[in-house]
C-alpha cells in the first residue's frame, strides 16, 4: 500500500475509535455531548508530553486513556446535576475551558501546540498495524457492551432515566460509566492522532471537531454501531474524495447534520433497520 493510502486508512481508524466513544455516551446512553473533542485533546496532549519525555507508546497510550477518563469522570459528575439540553451546554462549556487552558499555557505549547513527536520504534507500518488492530478490538468491545446487560441498562437510561431507576438501574453509575469508557476511547484516539500527526495543536480539538464527531454519530444513527462506523468512514474519506470541493467541506457537513436530523432522525442505522424490515416482508 502506498504511504497515502496507509495514512488515510489510519485516519479512518482513529476517527472510528473517537466516534465509537461518543456513540457510547450519546447513542447508547443518551447523554448528548458537545465537548467530545476536549477528551480527544486530553489524550493527544498527554501522549505528546509523555512521548517528548521519552516514554514508549506502550505507556503513553494507556496514560492518555486514563487522563481522558479522569476528565470524563469529572465532566460526568457535573452532568449528573443537569439534564438533556443543559447537559449539552455543560459539555460544550467543558470543551471551551479545555481549549482556553491549553491556549494560555506555555507548557502545553500555547496557540502553537507541541511538535516533533518521534514515531514508535517499530516504524510507520508497524504503527498502522497496531492502530488498526486496536480499532478492531474497540469495535468488538463496543459490540460486546451493546449486547451485555450494561448496554441493556444504557438503553433504559437513554429512554427514561426515572423509569430506569425504578427497575433498579442506578442511572448515575451508568452515566458515569458511559462517560468514562467513552472519553477513555476518545483519549486513545487522541494518543494515536499525536503519533499520526507527529504533534498536536489546539485547533484540532475545538468546537468544530466536537461537532464533526457528533455528525458521524448522528449520521450513523444513535442506535447503530455499524451505522456509526460507516458514517465515520464516509465522512473521513469525503474531504479526500471531494478535494475539488474543499471550499465547501464545512457547508456539506452542516447540510448533512441538518438534513439527516430533519428528515432521517434515526440516521443510517435507521435506514438499515427499515431495509431489514422490508426484506422480512410486510407483516
Amino acid at each position: 500500500m502506498s504511504a497515502y493510502v496507509l495514512s488515510i486508512v489510519s485516519l479512518v481508524g482513529i476517527n472510528i475509535i473517537l466516534a465509537l466513544g461518543l456513540h457510547l455516551i450519546s447513542g447508547l446512553c443518551g447523554q448528548v455531548s458537545l465537548g467530545h473533542a476536549a477528551f480527544y485533546g486530553v489524550g493527544a496532549y498527554t501522549t505528546a508530553l509523555l512521548a517528548k519525555a521519552g516514554y514508549p507508546i506502550g505507556l503513553t497510550l494507556p496514560a492518555a486513556m486514563a487522563a481522558a477518563a479522569v476528565a470524563g469522570f469529572v465532566v460526568g459528575l457535573c452532568s449528573l446535576r443537569v439534564r438533556e439540553d443543559f447537559l449539552a451546554i455543560a459539555t460544550m462549556a467543558a470543551g471551551f475551558i479545555f481549549l482556553g487552558v491549553v491556549k494560555q499555557n506555555e507548557a502545553l505549547g500555547g496557540e502553537i501546540g507541541i511538535s516533533g513527536i518521534a514515531m514508535p520504534s517499530f516504524g510507520r507500518d508497524g504503527f498502522v498495524a497496531l492502530e488498526l488492530g486496536v480499532t478492531v478490538l474497540v469495535i468488538l468491545f463496543c459490540l460486546h457492551v451493546r449486547r451485555s446487560w450494561l448496554g441493556f441498562g444504557f438503553s433504559a437510561v437513554a429512554d427514561d432515566d426515572v423509569a430506569a431507576q425504578m427497575v433498579g438501574v442506578d442511572n448515575r453509575a451508568y452515566k458515569l460509566t458511559a462517560f468514562c469508557i467513552g472519553t477513555a476511547l476518545a483519549g486513545l484516539a487522541g494518543g494515536f492522532l499525536a503519533y499520526y500527526l507527529r504533534g498536536v495543536s489546539p485547533d484540532a480539538f475545538g468546537f468544530t471537531a466536537s461537532i464533526s464527531v457528533l455528525c458521524m454519530v448522528v449520521l450513523g444513527g444513535m442506535q447503530s454501531i455499524a451505522g456509526c462506523i460507516i458514517a465515520t468512514t464516509i465522512l473521513t474519506l469525503m474531504p479526500e474524495v471531494l478535494r475539488f470541493a474543499d471550499n465547501y467541506k464545512l457547508l456539506i457537513f452542516g447540510a448533512l447534520l441538518f438534513l439527516t436530523m430533519r428528515f432521517l432522525p434515526d440516521g443510517l442505522g435507521g435506514l438499515f433497520a427499515l431495509a431489514r424490515r422490508k426484506e422480512a416482508g410486510p407483516s
Partner: protein, 288 residues
C-alpha cells in the same frame, strides 16, 4: 481608577450586546424548549444586511430597518421549515438540526461575502463624547441606549398588550392558552420575529462598533448567549438581561486579572459551569 471605569464600560457594552442576542434565544427556549443555535446565524445576517444597505444608500437608519425586517422574516422561516415539523422529537434532534443550520449559514456567508470580512465605506456613529472622564463613541452610547429602550418596550409589550399577555400565557401552559382561543402559531411566529429582530439590531451594532462584519462573528456570541440563558434560568427575559450584564462584566474584569490563566471564552464558560453545579436551574431559576 480609570482602568476600572474603562473595564466597566467595556463589560457593560458586551453585556448589552449579549443581552440583545440572548433575548431571542430565551424567548424561543421559553416557548418551545428548543436551543436555537441558528439564532447566531441570524445575528450575522443582520450585520451583513445593514452593512450592505448602508454602503449602498448611505443611511444607517434605512439599513437597520431593512435588516430587522429581513432577519425577522428569516427567523419565522426557520421556525416553520426547520423546527415546527420535528418539535415532537427528543430535544437533541432539534438541537443538532439547529447546529447544522448554523454551520451552513456561516459557510454561505463566507462563500458569498468572502472570508475576510467587510467594512463600512463611511463608518457611522464615530463622534466622541466624554462622560465621567471616560471617552465614549456615539456607537457605544447608542448600544446602551438601544438596549435600554428595546428591553423597556419588550417588557411593556409583554405586560400591557393582549398579544404579549397571550404569549406569556403560552409560555407557561400552551394547552391552556390554546383553549382560550390564543393562536399558538401566531404567537410562535411573533416570538421568532421579535427575537430575530433583536439579533439583527445586535449584529448591526457589533458591525458598527468594530467596523467589521465577518462570517464567523456569530460563533462566539452564540455560545455565550447559550451560557446566558442557562445563567438566567432558561426562559426568563429579565434573568437573561441580568446575567448578560453580569457575564459582560465578569469577562471584562476576568480577562484583565485572570488573562494569564484562561482566555475570555474559558472564563465565561467556567462561570457557567460553576453556576450550573451550584444552581442547576440557573441563577434566577426556581428549584424544580
Amino acid at each position: 481608577m480609570k482602568l476600572i471605569w474603562e473595564l466597566a464600560l467595556q463589560g457593560l457594552l458586551n453585556g448589552c450586546i449579549y443581552a440583545l442576542i440572548a433575548v431571542g434565544l430565551v424567548m424561543v427556549y421559553g416557548l418551545l424548549r428548543v436551543l436555537h443555535i441558528a439564532h447566531a446565524g441570524l445575528f450575522t445576517l443582520g450585520a451583513y444586511v445593514s452593512l450592505v444597505v448602508t454602503n449602498a444608500t448611505g443611511s444607517l437608519a434605512l439599513a437597520l430597518a431593512c435588516s430587522v425586517i429581513t432577519v425577522g422574516l428569516s427567523g419565522i422561516a426557520i421556525y416553520r421549515f426547520c423546527y415546527e415539523p420535528i418539535l415532537s422529537r427528543p430535544p437533541y434532534v432539534v438541537l443538532i438540526v439547529s447546529i447544522g443550520l448554523f454551520i451552513m449559514m456561516e459557510e454561505i456567508f463566507r462563500i458569498v461575502f468572502g472570508p475576510y470580512g467587510l467594512s463600512y465605506l463611511k463608518p457611522p456613529l464615530q463622534e466622541r463624547f466624554t462622560i465621567l472622564g471616560t471617552g465614549i463613541t456615539a456607537a457605544e452610547l447608542s448600544v446602551v441606549l438601544i438596549t435600554i429602550v428595546l428591553f423597556a418596550t419588550l417588557d411593556a409589550f409583554n405586560r400591557f398588550t393582549r398579544i404579549g399577555i397571550a404569549s406569556r400565557a403560552t409560555v407557561s401552559d400552551p394547552q391552556m392558552a390554546s383553549s382560550f382561543g390564543v393562536d399558538i402559531r401566531l404567537i410562535r411566529d411573533m416570538t421568532f420575529f421579535i427575537g430575530s429582530a433583536f439579533a439583527a439590531v445586535a449584529g448591526t451594532m457589533v458591525g458598527v462598533l468594530n467596523n467589521l462584519v465577518e462570517p464567523t462573528m456569530g460563533s462566539v456570541p452564540s455560545y455565550k448567549a447559550l451560557a446566558i440563558i442557562v445563567l438566567g434560568g432558561m426562559g426568563s427575559i429579565r434573568g437573561a438581561l441580568a446575567s448578560a450584564l453580569f457575564l459582560g462584566l465578569i469577562e471584562a474584569f476576568g480577562t484583565t486579572y485572570l488573562g494569564t490563566l484562561l482566555d475570555r471564552d474559558a472564563i465565561a464558560f467556567t462561570v457557567l459551569l460553576v453556576v450550573l453545579m451550584l444552581r442547576p436551574a440557573g441563577l434566577t431559576g426556581k428549584k424544580t
